[in-house]
């Protein structure tokens, strides 16, 4: 049954790629969500916007990088734990968001979706967390033994998917605000 951990790993990697690239397409919108979690007074008022925008950019790029790495280098077991850590962070954020900013947009997929901080959001985060746990289960080395060429091709496909998601998120956001 090693197919299940592999499927979970792939699903999480692709989710991270889609979410990261969609957020990168609308860092201003995602920065407004980041701002919700910055305690008042932590950052000087004049620096709030650039700081939160930078944090949003780094977070989005981090998600994208983690997704691409997890997809293209399946033998690296530590990446599974990194993804599980991210999933845990998502659970914490969705719970805190639900408690403090219920029904506000979470910008989880940039302009591509209208996901909110609600119970369904928590359920989705828990599902991602469960997927993260399943992805850490051991699989036979032969199932994930990729040649360098395979890894490069997967990375190229991931980059293509990221570009497509970025373009789609940009287009949807532009049309929505028109």
């Amino acid at each position: 049954m090693y197919v299940i951990p592999l499927a979970a790993k792939l699903a999480l990697a692709l989710t991270l790629i889609a979410a990261g690239s969609a957020k990168l397409a609308d860092t201003r919108g995602f920065a407004s969500t980041v701002r919700l979690f910055v305690p008042p007074g932590l950052v000087p008022a004049t620096r709030t916007v650039p700081v939160t925008r930078a944090v949003a950019g780094v977070m989005a790029a981090g998600e994208l990088a983690a997704g691409c790495a997890s997809l293209a280098v399946p033998r690296a077991g530590w990446l599974n734990w990194l993804v599980l850590g991210l999933a845990t962070l998502f659970i914490v954020i969705s719970v805190v968001g639900y408690a403090r900013y219920r029904d506000r947009s979470c910008n989880c997929f940039g302009g591509l979706s209208r996901r909110k901080f609600d119970r369904r959001g928590i359920a989705r985060s828990l599902l991602i967390g469960a997927g993260g746990v399943v992805a850490t289960l051991p699989v036979p080395a032969s199932a994930v033994r990729l040649s360098a060429a395979d890894a490069i091709l997967l990375l190229a496909a991931a980059a293509l998917a990221a570009c497509a998601t970025f373009a789609a998120a940009k287009a949807v956001a532009a049309v929505s605000s028109a």
């Binding site: 592999l6 889609a18 701002r35 496909a157 998917a161 497509a164």
Partner: protein, 208 residues
Amino acid sequence: MIPATSAIGLTMVVPVYLEMAQWALLLLLGLLVIVMFRQLGRLFNRESRPGRATLVDTMAPDFSYLRVGDNRELEFPAASGQPTLIAFVDPTCPSCEELVANLGEVAAAGELPGFRILLLTADPPSYLHISETFKSTRLELGAMTSRETRAAFDAATTPLLVAIDPGGLIRASDHVRSRGEILGLSRAATLPPADSMIELKAVASAAE
């Protein structure tokens, strides 16, 4: 490992992971197409719904709001005897911050003489700390006390600026941000009603 035959007849062994990854990537691209179509469908539904355009030249509703600062609940009479601009804005929306900043600058420069300007947000006043622009604005800021107010002005998406003439008639309503757009929309609130315009044109042509 899954045995597979290449186009030139060679038998290769494809790792299960690679096989699954190909399908997963295809699934992602398919999902992306579905999401785009859904979002565009929503947009077309919104645009085809009778909305902002039909609000123009109708009477604005009276409503109440909670004034930010002193938390007093105030009544807003649509026919206030002076031209009015109502901006529907939210502190978590970057475009709204742009509108609030530009509206503040235009008002401070005295380019909207005699206008009553009200910023209305659907968010609780406690959210205002996340936006420096909202915290520092000198314009009157109110929190909506009822969702019906937003619906009555068809302000489902923000920012939305509504221009109301002294008689309480909605003269223009649009998603604007820049100074030029604000001034253009505000001019509508000071123009005579459409009927008067027709009469004025008739008088002018008769005089010629």
